[in-house]
Amino acid sequence: MKINNIKKKFPIFKKKINGKNLIYLDSANSSQKPQSVINRMSYFYENEFSNVGRSVHTLAVEATNAFEKTRDLVQKFINSKYREEIVFTKGATEAINLVASTFGDKFINKGDEIILTELEHHSNYVPWHFLRETKGAVIKFSKLNDRLEIDPDDISKLINNRTKIIAVTHISNVTGGVTPLKKIIDIAKSKNIPVLVDGTQGAPHLKLDMQKLDCDFYAISCHKLYGPNGLGILYGKKNWLDQLSPYQGGGGMINEVKKENISYAETPTKFEAGTMQTAEVVAFGESIKLIDKLGIKNIYDHEEKVLNYGIEKLKRDNNVHLIGSPKEKASVISFTLKGIHPHDIATILDDDGVAIRAGHHCCQILHEKLGVPATARASIGLYNTLEDMDILYESINKCKKIFS
């Protein structure tokens, strides 16, 4: 499969926005879906739908098999040691909440410390903040360097014998900076501290290998991976997941229920309470297949070409200020434009069919540091092209003209 022609596989690009072609540069927010994913979901509902894991009739059997097959695909995709290490969640947000809540219950007490960074998305801060409120935990923010990169040395300095967990993003959804995870995990391991990686932005762009990376938890949002809404994945080392208590209670996650007591199922079932997102899980298998067919390395190379081309163009414009200058950077260009608020940029770009995001991108800590309430963000997916960057550039020029 050729990546150059890939836009054709995503039906939304047939759509006109204000009479113009859609230039979708909001994939860090949520990516568009290929026809194969959409069709798989429809086909499932039209021909195979049933609840999984509960009934013994033919439809239920087929649905359960299709559901569990995706678990196998995910296992391969992220190269986890056991398939039981894959928990399906509502999204990366739920995945992180699951860990913060259950790990916190068991291992975090008053005065214990959690290390985050100034780059974290609210989804990798608010769940930990809850532990501050309920348990009296302490949150320490590791400071970014001048390039707005996460600095393993700074994290190292924050560690002490009260440190219970380090939670860090894989790729920043604002700067695009790629976190030097290996260094951080080595430091943490040497002190026996578990590491949760918010892989929401990492998974769509980087080759994942849980056994090599050796983190303890890794959170993924399927809707940013060209998959359906309402689905995420928590990877957790089996040893950890086995130790943690269930997160939500309900059908399917139990072993035995008595009036006086309840015992729970094994990992990962104990974390999958209630009716799961069967159709979404089944359809997500097609996302993985697409990525595998293209090759994640090819996707990365292609996106890098588009990214660098876009950055070079924007850099030529003195009115454009790029947010952060991480040495290793993937897929995101955040910027401000002198004298024009990001919201106005976004509205004017939209008039040209260019969809970007303006705001704090759920990273208020970072924006406080930057001293601006909002930035504009163009984020790149596998379907974006050099031409998209040209149109972005022209549209930014139009902003300047309107505001001149």
């Binding site: 024009i340 990001p342 509205t347 705001g359 309107i402």
Partner: protein, 148 residues
């Protein structure tokens, strides 16, 4: 709709050079508004006299051209009006943006109405409605608080 209907000269002007910016002297009522999704903020300061008139009115805030222009225009038009008229102006403005109704206030001058109507283009841009209305809702809060 043409994007220039949204970004009219007058709006760009108010956006760049907001009138009545800062805290007005001797203000005795204030309130703030905030749009958590985009980070826009506005703070309205009012000096209300005993005869229920808005003697002075100003604002501080940060946000897009639409939100700054809207706050600026608000202060220009409402300053000097009494309570009741102010509330009617606010209502008419919100109706214009949200329900596409015309402004028909006897107590406003022709050019004041034109100025207010310069923001009417916003109704075609649903995600920007909050930008245009936040200051007006906030003033409404100021008056509400003062009433109590």
């Amino acid at each position: 709709m043409d994007i220039k209907e949204l970004y009219k000269e007058i709006i760009l002007d108010h956006g760049k050079n907001p009138r009545n910016f800062g805290k007005c002297n001797g203000y005795n009522a204030d309130a703030s508004g905030h749009n958590p999704l985009c980070g826009d903020k506005v703070h309205i300061y009012a000096k209300l006299d005993k005869e229920k008139k808005i003697e002075d009115l100003s604002f501080e805030g940060e946000g897009c051209a639409i939100s700054l222009a809207s706050a600026s225009i608000l202060t220009e038009i409402v300053k000097g009006q009494d309570y009741n008229i102010s509330n009617i102006i606010i209502r008419d403005f919100l109706n214009m943006i949200k329900a596409q109704k015309k402004i028909s206030l006897n107590s406003l001058k022709e050019d004041q109405i034109t100025t207010m109507m310069s923001l009417s283009g916003v109704k075609e841009f649903p995600m920007r409605v909050k930008c245009a209305t936040m200051a007006w809702h906030t003033l409404s809060n100021v008056l509400e608080i003062k009433k109590k």
